[in-house]
Symmetry: C2
Subunit: 512 residues, 2 copies
C-alpha cells in the first residue's frame, strides 16, 4: 500500500493524515479492512505504537470502526468521496467588496514602498527611528503585560488611555474633549473604515482633497462611495469649489495637507463648517502629523473650532511613535458615539489591551511628549538641511511646496510631465537614491513631475550625502531630456514592472 | 470681559481657547481690538507672558492680526459665526450599517458579562488564568519590541508567525497548510468580519447553527445578511435540514459546537462538504476551542478533510492564551487570498507587529504548546468536578449536554421554561453565584431553562464551594415554582433592568 507521509508534525499524525487521505480518495472503500497494525508498522518502518495511535485517532474521528479481535474497518457512510482541491487559483470575486477590491487595490504595489537597493531613501510617512523609544516601549509593554486584565478589553478603549488622550489633546492640540467621546482604534486606516461604516452607504458621495492620501481614496472606492476630489492650494482645500451635490463626508488634513503641505486657513475652516452645516455633511479631520510644526507651536485642531459637533477627529501614534504599533484614536460626535463603538466591535471587538495600557502609561508619564519634543527638534534640523539641499542642488528647476509642518516636503521638477517621473525614479535608483512620486496620491494626476521627500528616516549626515546625489540625478535627467512621450510611456511601464516585481516579495510597506 | 478658563492644560492654551471661543461666539466682532496684553493679564491675574503667548497663537492661526504698536484686531472674515454645539445627543442613524447596529447590538449588555457581586462566576469564554503565562508573555513582548521592525507590518501577517501557525496546525489540528494561505487577524471577530466582506453582500443568505455564538448572528445582521438557523443535535449540525435556497456561507463550530457542545460527526462533515459543493457555498469553520479535548487527542479540524478548498478556517489565541491579546488567524482558500488581504488592509492595515513577533516566538519556542497541555490537564480536572457536582446537586432535574471538549458545559433545568431563566439567575446572584443563560445564543430561543457553565475561571476548590450553592439555588428555584407566566415575565423584565444597569458601567465583557 502506498502511503505518503508529509513530514509535518509527529509520525502518528502524519500517518493519520495519510490514511484519511487514502480513505477520502476512495483507495479504501466502505467496509474495507485496514492492514493489521503490526504489518503496516513493519512495512513503513515505524513503531507499532505509531500505527496504533493513528488507528485510534481514526476511530475517534469516525473514519473506521474496530471489531474486537478482527481489526479496523472503514466506516459507512463515506458516500461523499470528494473531488480533489482545484489546482486553479482563480475564482471570480465573491462579493461587491471583493470585486471593487480587485479593481482598486494592489497590495503588492503600494505607493511609498521603499525600493530595493537604495542607499538613501527619502521615505515619507515614517517617524524618526529612535532606539531609546524602542526600549522605553519594551519596558512599558512588559510592565503593562503584568497588570493588564487578561480579559476582553472594553470595545471603546481602556478608560486610562482615553483619559490620557484627552489630556494630551488639550495640552498639544488645543482640543478639549470628554474621554467618553474618544474611541481607541487600531490606527488611522481603521478610523477611516469606521467613518465609512457609520456615516456612508454604498453610492454615497464623499469629498477628498486633491491630492489626497491614496488610502483614503482607495478605502472610499472599496466602500463603493463616489468620490469628488476638490483642489487644494496654499490655504488648503478650495472651499469655493466644494460640490453643490451634498456629500456625506468631507475628508481633510487641515493641519498639514497630505501630501501638498499647506495649512487650512482660518477663513477656509469657517467656510468648511458653513458648507458642512448647509449640506448636513460630516467633516473627517485626519490629523496625521499635526504635532510637528516648525514655525511655532502646533496649530489647534480643526475640531477645536467646531461648535456644531460635525467634525470627526482622527489621531494616530503611527507618525509619533512607530507604525508597527497599530494604535490610534478618534473623537466622535456624542450623538453617534454608540454607532462608532458598535462598528468597532464588529471589526475586532476592541484593540489589544496591553498596548493600550502601555500607551496610556507612556503618555501619562510624560515620556510621549518628551519624545515628541525631541523628535520635533531633530526633524527641524533635517528639514532645514533638506530644504537647503533642494534649493541648492535643484538647479533652479525644483519648486518646493511651502510646508512648515510634518515629515515630508512636496517638490516639483519644472519643465517635465508625469511621463517623466518614472524615469527620474529610475535614475535615482541607479545612483542609490530612493525617490518617491507624488502622483499616486492624486485622483487625477496632473501632467507634472512631482516628488515627495520624506526627511524622517535620513540623518543630517545622510541627507548631506544624498542631496548632492540628487543633484547629479537631476543633471542626468535634464541631459537625457524628455523622450518622445508615447515611446517613453511604453518603455517605462516595462521598467516599472521589472523593478517592482522583486519588491513585492521583500519590500517594506510604508505609508504617507 | 468674561473669559472662562477650562482648566485643561497650560494657562496660555486655556486662554487661547477662551479667546477663540469669544471670537467664534461673536463676542468680539470683526475688526474688534483685543484688550492690551498688560490690562488683560492684570484682570485675569496671569503673567503678561501668558497673554502674549495666547495672542501670538491667535495670530498664527489667523484669528487676529497685529498692527504694529496698536494691538491685536479680530481678522475678517469670520463671517461664519457658528451655532452652538447641539445639546441634543440623539441623531438618526447615518448609514444602513448604523441603522442595523442600533436594532441589533447593545454593547452595554453583551451575553456572558460577569454580574457584579458574584463570589463564584461560571463564566464561559475565558481561558484559565495562569500567572506564569502572563510573565512569559511580558518577556516575549519585551524581547519582540527590541527586534521587531518599527515599520508598518505586512498586511497578511509576519512571515515568522504565519510559519509558526502552519507548524502548529500540522502538529495539533491535523491541518497541513501553506503559510502563504494564512492571514493573521485581530481575533475571531475580525476573521468573521473579513469573511462577510469578502464572501457576502447585503441581502445574501447565511446558515448558522442553532444555537450559535451570539456574535456571529449579530455580525451577520449588521452586515445585512439573511440568517437561516439550522438545528444541531448530538452529532452537530443537522445537515439534512440545510436550506434548499443556496446560502453564500455556512458558519459551523465542528470541533465543539458552541454553545451546545457536540462534535460534528464524520458523516455530517461529508454531508456538509457535499452540500457546500452543490450550492457553491463557503464553509466557515470557527475552531474557537478545539484544542481542549478530554477523551483523547484533539480531533482534526474540518478543513483537514476539505479537498475542495471550500473551508475558511478560523483559529484564535483568545481561548488559548488570553483574550485581551487580540490575535487570531485564518486559513483561506488560495483563490481568494488576495481578496482577504485587501479586506484586512481596509480594516486596519495589519495587526500589531510586536504582538505578532512575540506570538511567533511563543509558539516556536514550544512555550505555547506546553501551556496548552498544562491548561488541558487543569481544565480536565475542573470539568470533572463540575460534571460530578452538577449531577450530584442537580437533584435529577439538570440534564447536562454531552460535551467532551472546550471550557464550558451546557445544562438544562427540566420542567422550566425560558421565562424562568432570569429568576434562576437572580436566585444565583442572591447566593453569590454568577450563572449564565444559554438563551442569548439562540436565534429563536426555545421555551426551556438552559444555562452555560464555564469552568475555566474557577479553581477546583472554588468549584467545590460553588456547586453546593448551586444546589441550594435549585432548591429555592423549585420551591418557588414557576410563577404565573405573564406576571412573572413583567416582574422579571423589571428585575432584569434593575440588576443590569450597574453592570453597564463596571462589568467586564466576556465572550463565549
Amino acid at each position: 500500500m502506498y502511503l505518503a507521509l508529509d513530514g509535518n508534525g509527529p509520525l502518528h499524525a502524519q500517518l493519520t493524515r495519510a490514511l484519511k487521505g487514502a480513505i477520502l480518495d476512495g483507495r479504501y472503500g466502505e467496509g474495507a479492512r485496514l492492514p493489521p497494525s503490526r504489518a503496516l508498522a513493519a512495512e513503513l518502518g515505524v513503531s507499532r505504537n505509531t500505527v496504533l495511535t493513528a488507528y485510534e485517532q481514526l476511530r475517534a474521528e469516525g473514519f473506521v470502526s474496530a471489531r474486537i479481535g478482527s481489526g479496523s474497518y472503514v466506516t459507512p457512510p463515506l458516500h461523499a468521496t470528494q473531488v480533489q482541491r482545484p489546482t486553479s487559483t482563480t475564482l471570480p470575486p465573491q462579493s461587491a467588496f471583493a470585486r471593487r477590491g480587485r479593481l482598486v487595490h494592489d497590495h503588492g504595489n503600494l505607493p511609498g514602498r521603499a525600493p530595493e537597493g537604495a542607499r538613501y531613501c527619502f521615505q515619507y510617512g515614517l517617524p524618526i527611528v529612535n532606539p531609546a523609544v524602542a526600549s522605553m516601549w519594551a519596558r512599558e509593554l512588559a510592565r503593562a503585560a503584568a497588570y493588564t486584565s487578561p480579559n476582553y478589553p472594553p470595545t471603546q478603549g481602556l478608560p486610562a488611555l482615553r483619559e490620557a488622550i484627552g489630556d494630551y489633546l488639550a495640552r498639544r492640540r488645543g482640543l478639549v474633549v470628554d474621554p467618553a467621546d474618544v474611541v481607541v482604534v487600531s490606527g488611522t486606516q481603521q478610523a477611516i473604515s469606521l467613518c465609512l461604516r457609520v456615516l456612508a452607504d454604498e453610492g454615497d458621495h464623499a469629498v477628498v482633497e486633491e491630492p489626497q492620501y491614496f488610502a483614503v481614496r482607495e478605502l472610499l472606492q472599496l466602500h463603493g462611495a463616489r468620490i469628488s476630489p476638490v483642489p487644494t492650494d496654499v490655504e488648503g482645500l478650495r472651499c469655493d469649489l466644494l460640490p453643490e451635490r451634498s456629500p456625506r463626508l468631507v475628508f481633510v488634513t487641515p493641519s498639514h495637507q497630505f501630501p501638498g503641505g499647506s495649512v487650512l486657513s482660518l477663513a477656509r475652516r469657517m467656510e468648511l463648517f458653513a458648507y458642512a452645516r448647509r449640506h448636513d455633511a460630516w467633516v473627517v479631520e485626519d490629523d496625521y502629523d499635526g504635532e510637528f510644526r516648525y514655525d511655532g507651536r502646533p496649530l489647534a485642531a480643526l475640531r477645536s473650532l467646531d461648535r456644531g459637533d460635525r467634525v470627526i477627529y482622527i489621531g494616530s501614534f503611527s507618525k509619533t511613535v512607530f507604525p508597527s504599533l497599530r494604535l490610534g484614536y478618534m473623537v466622535v460626535p456624542r450623538a453617534l458615539r454608540e454607532d462608532f463603538v458598535t462598528a468597532k466591535w464588529s471589526l475586532d471587538f476592541g484593540s489589544s489591551a496591553i498596548e493600550q495600557a502601555a500607551m496610556a502609561s507612556f503618555i501619562a508619564s510624560g515620556g510621549f511628549e518628551r519624545h515628541l519634543r525631541r523628535s520635533t527638534r531633530i526633524l527641524a534640523e533635517r528639514r532645514e538641511v533638506l530644504m537647503q539641499g533642494l534649493r541648492h542642488y535643484g538647479r533652479g528647476r525644483v519648486r518646493i511646496a511651502d510646508s512648515r509642518a510634518g515629515m515630508h516636503v512636496a517638490a516639483w521638477v519644472e519643465g517635465h510631465g508625469a511621463a517623466d517621473v518614472e524615469r527620474l525614479l529610475a535614475i535615482g535608483l541607479r545612483h542609490g537614491l530612493g525617490l518617491h512620486s507624488i502622483l499616486p496620491h492624486y485622483h487625477a494626476p496632473p501632467d507634472r513631475c512631482g516628488l515627495l521627500f520624506g526627511f524622517a528616516s535620513l540623518s543630517v549626515a545622510e541627507l548631506r550625502e544624498a542631496l548632492p546625489l540628487f543633484g547629479r540625478c537631476l543633471e542626468e535627467f535634464e541631459r537625457e531630456g524628455p523622450a518622445p512621450v508615447a515611446a517613453l510611456a511604453r518603455q517605462h511601464r516595462g521598467e516599472h514592472h521589472a523593478r517592482r516585481q522583486p519588491r513585492q516579495v521583500r519590500g517594506r510597506i510604508r505609508q504617507r
